[in-house]
């Protein structure tokens, strides 16, 4: 035990130390915690709840008081405790803040309790930990695990901590892991035992583990991990491929063991576990300015109160002296603040949260945004930016998987310069796609059957079926017939090598039936049980007849048959869909990938012989190299062969130019390369994704020389990525071109329509893709992003000066275009079509220049004048920089939509990030604010829900301001008649109730449920969306009109009762009662006029509010004899309600207060009639909706274009 040195402990608490050192805990098992070497690392117990029972109150209060609004409120309440300035009973003044704090605290406590429960469940989960005393793995709880413990995870168990894999039951030292819990990806990931531990000691003995693990500090990068084992001065490197991640599930492996390196909160999954993001929406930040206006208003009102002065008689100050007038003025000022505090709508923040919760509920409930195939609803991950959806001006979209299906189909290939078009394949594929897209539910059984298939990722395998090209198949067969396996002639060999490369050069995992069965057992069983009448035989029969999903059928049959016969079928689990497509293509030609382990890969040839290659190394894919390679040893020839595949840009320049020094061959290879390049260009023009395949034979010496460098790079901690990449590039030289493939990625359904609609809605659509230029342009044409008549500018240069010179010219020509086409005939449609004429296509290299240099301004300007912007070959970082640039320079509202990990940056940079849960895992969804499953859903999400949410919220906020100002002013006017003393003619309880019960529900309901225009009209008239972009619903003028209206209404509500009761024997609260009641009616009816469509809910809440008002007021007036000294409203309401004057006053007040509101819509209507042709309005069938449209305001209807469309629509 030479370990007992202070060094490890000294290392681990050095905070600057870039690494973490872990040693085995077993030698210290019996010692006190003080002596444990790993004691400073976090244990495995997780605690995500913020509070404990005792700390809840102080911590929660602290958190709540971080909000400025709450501090303001408490300050007001505290002021009330100063006798000189208090306006109410001090205790009573505490009620509003207490209510708000309590509601928020209850909400927080509930959420926290839920977290606590799930934590407790998680911490209590059993697991197996090695114990020295018992010489074996014993059952413990998750929370007992420490860093340095040895843990064993059995098949289908969830991994309790981040474990460095040291042993697996698989003889190859491989362990499979499903990361669905972590990133939603359903494919299995392979993990390997740290190289030197590989399968040597068959029963794993942790006691003999005497190395030190040195690895990096805990971080949240799920795809990156590095470190080494140090033992007797020998360093053995390992990476992410040896780390089992907490939260994942072990599959296909009976048992896996290892040492815990990160536990609890240090694990990668916990570090990735972000809370929902808090984004501040634009309306809200604008609203804050309005709140400041209210503060200013309050200040003015209080100042008037402070200056206005009426001396008080009969009541000297307590000490008998008179307060100096300045001090008295300050007191009055403070008193007025207390009295009029409601003008600052504190409850608005709470109401907005509630409204957004309701809006989110309705968005997620929308059946049109539900995807049957994936059984997924729309998800709202950010809860507080729903209304931003209604203001989007720029949409940045990824291409692959967003505009397209990302369901790859092998379409064409070229081998040795010969092109094989695979015509039938394309057609059948199309048919398949049509079947999928358009006839998803012929019958319930078929639908759900398919659903089941897709759920388990099996659709992939069936839709990837490839019908071989007859010519190619023939020539492959011919070649193979001629040669004995493994000894083909050089000429024919290329065909075989090409398919071998297809089958081998990838990271596709083969899962056998037995392994698969464990995984899907539960769903299968439950499906069986769910069918009430059928036994399993009925089901399988039924499946054979009816289900279009071949994979499913076959699977189900094998599932029943596999108990009799051995497993025949293989299933591929690929991390990217194009790899799966290639493997399936190879299979169609008879080259079946049978098995893949880290050490070997087996392929069955068309003749039936199986070749098992020893895998020497895999140079994994990265976006810098844009290629991947595999180094294998041929089983018969023992040659070391390197297969490389990649994008043509990454391959073509690395081709071997001298073909064994024979000029003839050299030229031949050149010809082939040229032909292939031509074919590649053709593929790209067809919108296919292209990949080149190459081969290279490596001599033993070269390989071993390289291996030394490689191992050094792998063990490096600093600059490891760079070194690894460099060594890979060193190997991938002098390649021999085998051929290339073209894979089709179909457009998703309704993409052109969606883009068209977004564009009509005034949204600029930009596509940022990593694909090559030709492919991207092609897709852009097919999805109507670019039109054939468009003028397309393509930037594909690295010359800064050139760009600089071309900019003014470009801008000029853009303007010129507009001038030409802006003729008088089409003047009304000019703004829409003029921008349609210019498309901008930018290559990644050029984009880098545009973003970096001082060309930014010109670029941004150009962007504003283009209808379509297409950026190709962009890196994730560039994507996000484009978004950030346009967002900050133009100040526009941006939305980014994407499906892959490469879109995460962009999604996070945009105001609104939308993730598509597609084939490429869930990273984009995890980073997004909203997650949808199809691109077409964006249309309804923006045009309908965005529009609704924005209008609802804007109207609700405006109404809220109005409501508070109207009510508070009532109190303010009274100050002129009570010597500015701060008397309220309404009992303070009623003032609280007024905001809390009587008028709180209607605006919230209004914000959640109002519907100006129906979804159908919004979808048919995307132009209506433009209103939100220009903040039509919520602008400064609207706010001030509402405030002016509030002033008018409060004047009416005050002075009508005032003049009625002036000079009479009325007392304070009896005067306040009709004012309060009239004010309630005015506020409720004002909302009633604002509400555009009344449903049952509206009626219930509106009528309910009035009923509640009367019931509560009567009850309070009857019961409160002296409950609220010194002011109590005993019997005032009853007294008033028995007086007919009360009703007459209330009716008159309400009518007078609302007369302008009644007149405004009418006037609007006449104004808009004069503006437009009135004839078009009077003849429309859906009059109701049209009038609602009219009341939306002038913005739409000054544009006669909309009118024309509407006319067409309604005819």
């Amino acid at each position: 035990m030479s370990w007992i040195t202070p060094i490890p402990t000294a290392r681990c608490h050095g905070a600057d130390e870039p690494t973490r050192t872990v040693v085995s805990n077993l030698p210290y098992e019996d010692q006190r915690p003080r002596n444990q070497p790993n004691r400073r690392y976090a244990g495995n117990a997780v605690k995500t709840n913020k509070y404990t029972l005792w700390s809840f109150l102080p911590i929660n209060l602290c958190e709540q008081f971080r909000r400025l609004a709450n501090i303001y409120f408490v300050g007001i309440a505290a002021l009330n405790f100063i006798p000189e300035v208090n306006a109410f009973q001090p205790q009573v003044a505490l009620i509003p803040i207490c209510v708000i704090l309590t509601l928020t605290a209850i909400k927080d406590a509930w959420e926290d309790f839920r977290r606590y429960q799930s934590d407790r469940e998680l911490n209590g989960t059993p697991c197996l930990v090695y114990s020295r005393s018992q010489h074996g793995f014993v059952e413990r709880r998750w929370k007992d695990i420490q860093v340095g413990d040895f843990v064993q995870v059995l098949a289908n168990d969830i991994i309790p901590a981040d474990i460095l894999l040291l042993h697996a039951s698989d003889p190859n030292g491989v362990c499979h892991m499903e990361t669905a819990n972590l990133d939603g990806e359903t494919n299995l990931k392979q993990r390997r035992v740290v190289s030197s531990f590989c399968a040597v000691k068959s029963p794993f003995d942790p006691l003999s583990f005497n190395a030190t693990v040195i690895c990096e500090k805990p971080n949240n990068n799920l795809n990156h991990f590095k470190g080494f084992l140090e033992k007797d001065q020998i360093k053995i490197g390992f990476g992410i491929e040896s780390l089992l991640l907490r939260g994942c599930t072990v599959r296909n492996t009976a048992a896996a063991s290892g040492i815990v390196v990160y536990a609890g909160h240090d694990t990668k999954s916990m570090l990735n576990n972000n809370r929902p993001r808090y984004k501040r929406s634009r309306v809200e930040s604008k609203m804050n300015k309005e709140v400041l206006c209210c503060v200013f208003l309050l200040f003015c009102m209080c100042l008037i109160g402070a200056v206005g002065d009426v001396p008080i008689y009969f009541i000297p100050d307590s000490d008998g002296n008179e307060t100096p007038s300045v001090v008295a003025g300050v007191y009055r000022f403070l008193t007025m603040i207390i009295l009029l505090q409601v003008i600052i709508p504190i409850s608005l923040y709470l109401s907005i949260e509630l409204v957004k919760m309701g809006q989110v509920f309705f968005i997620t409930q929308d059946i049109d945004l539900y995807d049957k195939e994936k059984d997924m609803r729309m998800q709202c991950r950010a809860l507080n930016i729903t209304e931003d959806l209604g203001q989007i001006q720029y949409v940045f979209s990824d291409k692959t998987g967003t505009l397209t299906e990302n369901k790859m189909v092998f379409r064409r290939c070229t081998i040795m310069g010969t092109e094989y078009p695979h015509t039938e394949n394309g057609e059948s594929g199309k048919w398949n796609g049509v079947e999928l897209a358009w006839k998803p539910s012929v019958s319930a059984r078929r639908h759900t059957g398919m659903l089941w298939c897709i759920k388990h990722g099996l659709l992939l395998s069936h839709s990837l079926e490839v019908i071989p090209d007859q010519n190619l198949l023939w020539s492959v067969k011919e070649v193979e017939r001629r040669g004995v396996a493994g000894h083909w002639g050089l000429q024919g060999a290329t065909h075989l090598e090409f398919f071998l490369a297809l089958a081998i050069c990838n990271t596709v995992v083969v899962s056998t039936e037995t392994a698969q069965r464990q995984r899907v057992r539960d769903p299968v069983q439950s499906t069986l049980y769910d069918i009430p009448t059928s036994s399993s035989s009925v089901v399988s029969e039924d499946e054979v007849q009816g289900t279009p999903c071949k994979g499913h059928t076959r699977r189900r049959q094998t599932w029943t048959a596999s108990s009799l016969a051995g497993p025949k079928e293989v299933h591929y689990e690929a991390q990217s869909p194009d790899e799966a497509a290639l493997v399936h293509a190879a299979k169609a030609y008879g080259f079946t990938l049978l098995e893949r382990t880290p050490s070997h890969v087996s392929v069955r040839l068309p003749s039936g012989t199986t070749l098992t290659y020893e895998v020497l190394d895999v140079l994994t894919f990265d976006s810098v190299r844009s290629r991947m390679s595999i180094i294998v040893r041929h089983p018969h020839t023992k040659e070391i062969i390197l297969y490389t595949k990649g994008a043509d840009s990454g391959i073509m320049e690395r081709l071997q130019n001298s073909f064994e020094d024979r000029s003839q061959m050299k030229s031949e290879s050149r010809v082939i390369a040229n032909k292939t390049q031509k074919h590649l260009d053709m593929y790209a023009n067809d919108g296919l994704r292209t990949l080149c395949f190459t081969r290279k034979v490596v001599s033993e010496k070269n390989y071993y020389d390289w291996l030394v460098l490689r191992q050094g790079a792998m063990a490096a901690i600093d600059r490891k990525d760079e070194l690894v990449r460099k060594t890979a590039a060193d190997m991938e030289t002098n390649l021999t071109l085998l051929g290339a493939t073209g894979i089709e990625d179909r457009l998703q359904e309704n993409v052109p329509e969606t883009i068209q609609a977004l564009r009509e809605a005034g949204i600029q659509v930009c596509v940022l893709t990593g694909d090559k230029l030709e492919t991207a342009v092609n897709i852009a044409y097919s999805c109507k992003l670019l039109d054939q008549q468009d003028l397309v500018f393509t930037f594909n240069t690295e010359n800064t000066v050139q760009i600089q010179l071309s900019f003014p010219q470009l801008l000029h020509s853009v303007h010129g275009c507009r001038g030409i086409h802006c003729n008088p005939v089409f003047s009304s449609t000019c703004p829409a079509t003029a921008q349609a004429l210019v498309g901008l296509v930018i290559d990644g290299r050029t984009l880098g220049l545009l973003l970096d240099s001082d060309l930014q301004e010109g670029f941004v300007q150009l962007c504003t004048h283009c209808r379509a912007i297409l950026c190709c070959r962009t890196t994730p970082l560039q994507k996000s920089r484009v978004v950030t640039l346009l967002r900050s320079k133009l100040g526009v509202m941006t939305l980014a939509i994407g499906d892959g990990a490469n879109d995460v940056n962009m999604i996070q940079a945009a105001d609104v990030g939308v993730g598509i849960s597609g084939q490429e895992g869930m990273q984009a969804v995890m980073a997004s604010d909203f997650a949808i499953s199809r691109f077409k859903h964006l249309k309804k999400l923006l045009l309908v829900h965005g529009h609704w949410c924005y209008n609802r919220l804007a109207n609700m906020i405006i109404y809220f301001f109005y409501k508070n100002v109207a009510y508070v002013n009532l109190l303010f006017w009274y100050q002129f008649f009570c010597g500015f003393s701060g008397t309220a003619m309404i009992d303070y309880w009623f003032m609280i109730f007024f905001n809390l019960f009587f008028t709180s529900a209607p605006p919230i309901m209004f914000g959640i449920m109002d519907r100006e225009v129906s979804a159908a009209v919004l979808l048919q008239l995307p132009e209506l969306y433009r209103r939100g972009q220009h903040e039509g619903g919520y602008r400064r003028s609207t706010f001030w009109i509402a405030i002016a209206d509030a002033f008018y209404q409060s004047l009416v509500c005050f002075f009508v009762p005032y003049w009625t009761y002036k000079g009479s024997d009325i007392d304070i609260f009896t005067l306040g009662t009709p004012m309060n009641t009239a004010s309630l009616f005015t506020i409720i009816f004002h909302l009633a006029i604002e509400i555009k469509s009344w449903t049952v809910v509206h009626w219930v809440i509106m009528v309910g509010s009035v009923v509640v008002y009367f019931v509560v007021t009567l009850a309070f007036c009857a019961m409160c004899v002296s409950c609220n000294p010194p002011s109590d409203p005993y019997w005032t309401m009853q007294e008033q309600m028995s007086d007919p004057m009360f009703y007459l006053v209330c009716i008159l007040t309400t009518v007078v207060a609302l007369l302008p509101r009644l007149r405004f819509p009418l006037a609007d209507r006449y104004i808009s009639q004069f503006l437009s042709k009135p004839s078009e309005m009077s003849c429309l069938p859906r009059l109701g909706e049209l009038v609602a449209l009219v009341s939306l305001g002038e913005t739409y209807f000054q544009n006669t274009f909309v009118f024309r469309r509407f006319k067409l629509l309604t005819k």
Partner: protein, 369 residues
């Protein structure tokens, strides 16, 4: 009032029928319920403010409001009301001398003659009115103790702090405490009818039933105990500083009208909403149906002038008024109703003309299309 268009929308062709009930997997499906509520397709009534709906509304308001207004106006005009300012600001006023002293109990008496031109037929209510008296000032309003007034023994001897500085006097608790009670209106008004021959006859002024029934019986109560002998009940307290008699001797004639339930006191304690106000003081009951309650003629108001108002430029008035179902005389509401009704009617006519003119033109224009 408003046209309605029920549009229970039929646009949703996709009913849940496409997914068969009971099919495998439906139980677990996350498919949202296709209900009208969740899909925001609840049948909605969309009120439309068009000329066709708002115009009748205007006319209706006009037609309903104008008669109400006329009714109110006529009623208000039928109410007899007489006001007499007896502050004594002018030198010529009989109360000028009395008004010169700023004291609460100067026991100065004056009498003001006045003439009623018209008879007061029904019950006549006698009010006293004060001007520029901010009885609604916050510090004044809160200077009372409702618990004490409600007969709570604890607060009788230990009044609320709100009553300061009228809470204790010479270490004795004040009952009733506070500034409101302290400033109780304490003029005595007596009304005499002067026959043409010069003899005066006192008019009987009823001093009960002038406060709210609930105030008298629920809100204000004397402290429990020996109700017959309020002297003992209030023995540990002292009277407010400005009073010259204790609370249990407010009404020497009526034993049940003493203590906190003295109706003059209750009326005073219901603080007025506006700085110019009147308070019901006495009621003159109609004797029989033949003679008016107050016939036209000469009267004299005898005043025990105690209440000082000159310090805050206030005025004191005596008001005689009959009342109707709408209370005292107030022409405002009637005029307001008539005005609003007329304005609505006028607007309706104007809009009708506009609508007629332009509405017709637009429909004519539609025909050639």
């Amino acid at each position: 009032m408003m046209a309605s268009s029920y549009n229970a929308k039929e646009e949703d062709g996709h009913h849940s029928g496409s997914v068969g009930p009971g099919g495998p997997g439906t139980g677990k499906s996350k498919k949202p319920d296709n209900t009208a509520f969740k899909q925001q397709r609840l049948p909605a009534w969309q009120p439309i403010l068009t000329a066709g709906t708002v115009l009748p509304a205007f006319f209706a308001i006009g037609l309903i409001f104008i008669p109400i207004g006329i009714g109110l106006f006529v009623t208000s005009n039928n109410i007899r009301e007489f006001e007499l300012d007896y502050t004594g600001v002018e030198m010529s006023s009989p109360c000028f001398n009395c008004s010169q002293t700023y004291s609460w109990n100067n026991s100065c008496r004056c009498s003001v003659p006045f003439t009623l031109e018209q008879p007061f037929e029904s019950n006549v209510f006698m009010y006293y009115g004060l001007s520029n008296f901010y009885q609604n000032h916050r510090r004044y309003v809160k200077s009372r103790d409702d618990s004490q007034l409600n007969g709570d023994k604890r607060f009788l001897t230990n009044p609320s702090k709100e009553c300061e500085p009228y809470r204790m006097n010479d270490k004795m608790p004040i009952a009733p405490c506070g500034a409101i009670a302290n400033s109780l209106f304490n003029d005595t008004l007596e009304l005499y009818y002067v026959y043409p021959n010069g003899t005066k006859t006192a008019i009987h002024l009823v001093k009960t039933d002038i406060a709210w029934w609930t105030d008298k019986h629920v809100k204000f109560r004397n402290p429990a105990g020996n109700n017959d002998n309020l002297t003992i009940t209030f023995q540990e307290t002292t009277n407010p500083i400005n009073w010259h008699k204790p609370v249990y001797e407010l009404d020497p004639t009526e034993p049940d009208n003493n203590g906190f339930i003295n109706e003059d006191f209750i009326v005073w304690m219901r603080t007025a909403a506006l700085p110019t106000f009147r308070k019901l003081h006495r009621i003159i009951q109609k004797k029989d149906s033949l003679t008016p309650t107050l016939p036209p003629g000469n009267y004299t108001l005898d005043i025990a002038y105690n209440y000082p108002v000159r310090s805050f430029d206030g005025r004191k008035r005596m008001i005689l008024s009959t009342i109707s179902w709408m209370g005292g005389k107030n022409p405002f509401l009637g005029i307001a109703y008539i005005t609003v009704g007329s304005v609505c009617f006028f607007l309706g006519v104007v809009l009708l003309v506009i609508h007629h003119k332009y509405g017709n033109r637009s429909s004519n224009a539609e025909i050639p299309n």
